[in-house]
Symmetry: C2
Subunit: 149 residues, 2 copies
């Protein structure tokens, strides 16, 4: 593999990490951490999900997740119901308040992105998004099976 390619990927990573860091630092007026927000996001998008599934998706420790869920429940955002098929597990969903909070965070995140894109022309915005979509396509594992190098 050409060293140049590796350097370019690392350069992109530094660049992108900096942007994200900047956005995240300026982001939150919410009392929730990025991990907590991500958990709320997953529950919103997968109503009835189990903690063990979130654990796998997010690659976080179950003890950490347990504490996050405890906080979300204490704050009244989260509903846990015992699963009927498996009495060890909970089925997770958002309460009314949890949904409201999610909408709020969603809106804040959109505004953040809008701010990031604001200096760009419409054409550049579209080009940017096309590049992003292509990167996702290239890096998605299913797209890279059974090919020779």
């Amino acid at each position: 593999m050409k060293q140049g390619l590796i350097d370019e990927v690392r350069a992109f990573n530094r660049f992108y990490t900096d942007i994200i860091g900047l956005l995240n630092r300026n982001f939150l007026d919410s009392p929730y951490s990025l991990a907590e927000i991500r958990v709320v996001y997953e529950i919103f998008h997968h109503k009835g999900i189990r903690a063990s599934q979130i654990m796998e998706i997010m690659h976080i420790d179950k003890s950490y997740l347990s504490r996050i869920l405890k906080k979300l429940e204490k704050d009244g955002l989260l509903l846990r119901e015992r699963s009927e098929e498996d009495a060890r597990a909970f089925l997770l969903s958002l309460t009314e308040k949890g949904n409201t909070e999610f909408q709020w965070l969603n809106k804040a995140s959109n505004e953040q992105v809008t701010t990031l894109l604001a200096p760009l022309t419409e054409k550049k915005k579209e080009t940017l998004v096309r590049h992003m979509q292509n990167i996702i396509r290239i890096l998605t594992p299913e797209n890279n099976r059974n090919e020779n190098n």
Copy 2:
């Protein structure tokens, strides 16, 4: 601004953040955190840099940086010399050992990227890098002045 664009950017961000998280989790056999490695990186690339400059580049608190520098110095990676122009400041550089450690981290990081790219064909690798370069170009502020939307 079209909502679709915003959603696509957020989708990319989730995707990329997950990849980076995965790489970072699998990364380090080194006793240094990502922040510490980034500091070493900056000093390697800007010999004689001051702490206050690193602070600005990395957007981290001076007290946190101070502790990172203390650790790097204790471990024998870092050399601090009082600036002659400004007796408050230090000029930072890496010791022999610091350079060696940097080379090691650099190699480890390259291997990480190599692993990420391994499943791709050469053509895809090159396309990927081109997309990344374009994103950097589009999002670099200097490229977006004085244009109408």
